[in-house]
Amino acid sequence: MTDALILDGLVKTYGPLRAVDGLSLRVPRGSITGFLGPNGAGKTTTLRMIMDIFPPDTGRIELLGRPLSRDGLAHVGYMPEERGLYPKMKVRALLQFFGELKGLDRTTLAREIPLRLEDLGLADRAECRVEELSRGMQQKLQFIVTTINDPQLLILDEPFSGLDPVNLELLEGIIQRMRVTGTTVLFSTHMMEHAERICDRVVLLSRGRKLLDDELTPIRTRHAQGRVLVSVYGDTDFIDTLPMVREAVRRRGHLDILLADGADPQTLLRALIDRAQVRRFEQKLPTLHEIFIELVGAER
């Protein structure tokens, strides 16, 4: 199966600043990919280049199996970080406008608009002006605008920022549902817990360059090197003296152990069995947040 999106050597500069610096990545069809990075990492710039809002200085973008074009973008839904709607327009007219702008005909829109509004609990607001809706309702409306054309690729720039817990869960659920229908989702965020919950893949960006690009589990396993969670019966003081232990932090009921460089967890296990009764021994997988801090912190 082809990738939904391929970026190859993208570069974008603003004066002396290289906002995106030779970025290459692939987003497999049907996947949910998190596009992570601190503020100013180049996420929004990359997404805007994908949406042809402005062109890259160099590099190639392939969208849904073809070079980037306006025709190809008709199959993409994009929700920018800076969300906005026409405040004076009525909800139905607004959806009609954006639907037509995305190439849908009036018959389709007459059928789809009530369904979408119903789906997100806005059916009774169709004739309200946008400015009359609550913030949460406006966010739902924004999502309908983004997905009105049933996109094959959904690109969301910081979709969770500013959402209350109820709407946040609602949006997470919708994104999960879209995976079932085969939609590819690429979303940027700097909120790691969301990425961890719903992503198959993660791309981490810092200063315009890619630091990570893989599925979530291999990333966590790879970064688990040297971290072990241990629980033993009896005295634990001897652990600090073991040559393969760099640091042992006592938690309630267990110890977080950081191994010395190059130390094998199996050697530690053997040493523990020799000296105490081991109740629990497991390699600790770091959270995405920890990996983010480790990698981005090292960059800075």
Partner: protein
Amino acid sequence: MNKILTIARRDFTETIRTKTFIVGVLLMPLLVIGLIALGGRITQRLESGPRPPQRVALINADDRIGPALAAAVSDYNQSHPGRLLELRVQQGEPQTAMAAAIELVRQRELDALLEISPGLLDGTLPARLHVYTDGLGGMQLRAQLQQVLNHAAMAVRLEQLGIAPELAAQLRRGAHLELIDLRGGEDQPRIAPELRMMVPFFFILLILLGLLGVNQHMLFSIIEEKSSRVIEVILSAASPLQFMAGKILGLTAVGLIAVGIWGGIAIGAAYYHGLASLLDLTNLGWFLLFYLLGFLLYSSIYAAIGSACNTIKETQNLVMPVTMMLVIPMIGWPHFSQYPNGLAATALSFFPPVTPLMMTLRLASRPDLSLVQVAGAALLLAVSVLVVIRLAAKIFRIGILMHGKPATARELLRWMKHR
């Protein structure tokens, strides 16, 4: 093209529903016409109605003119029964009489004081005429007194020279010159040249109001789209050029409606008042073409300016030089309409920012203008429109997503050079 039309349709429908449009385009002309008509009626009624007699004290130091003045006032009162003058000769020592008269004027017992100095008739001493009033309404009284004084002085002089009044009347009879515009045709009613001169002014005023008024909507609309952050959502579905083209197209339609309404009202009024011969509509096609090209030119510039700013206030510095271009033909209108083929008018009509108004002014002043000039100016303007749209699109593409401080003129130039 569908996207351009979708954007144009939204802008058109949303603009014509705004209160600004309804008041500015539909109600304003009716309001202005209503006020002019009402003002005219009120003035006419006030002017035509009878007024209380004007009581004027007279201190006359020249006995020769006294009887003639009394006769002139009498004649005046007979011919102006609603504007009676009442002269009251002040007796006694002049300085005391004058002080007393001034006091009476101050107390509103009298409306004015007329002092006639010796030397008014022979010119050996400067003739002095003082009119004293304590309000702002002395203008008409002064004119009345000037008229009777002239008649009196003339009568005395004629008598001194032994000339019969009938002979003097014959000598005074003027030689009138009537201006006949051959374009009007023999069967057309004669229309004052001053009124005919207003026609070109009306045409350029119409275009000016259309260009400035509707393009203000362009600025408001783009600034609103930037501040409400809806712009990026639109740009994900349409290119910046499509977006700009859609906006220009939508507002061009709004502009045509506005000018159509104003023009229709004006033409209707001209027919209603029997002034249809003033309007030469043979060049209507050219007027429309110049208006459309002018609209495209200026709306592109306004779109670029709007995209580079975040508030209406920020746009003012950039909009002002553009507006000045439109004012040039308005300032020079009296000259250009009399000399539509003069060097200045001809040269300016080939300067694209001024072309729409200047060519309209020239065509309205002289409908048989050289076709080569008209077509040449239109062609040059059309090419300029294409160049300006291209440059404006470059600014628009960069500016529309910029927030923070507004762009300077230098930055705009740099954006134009961007690939």
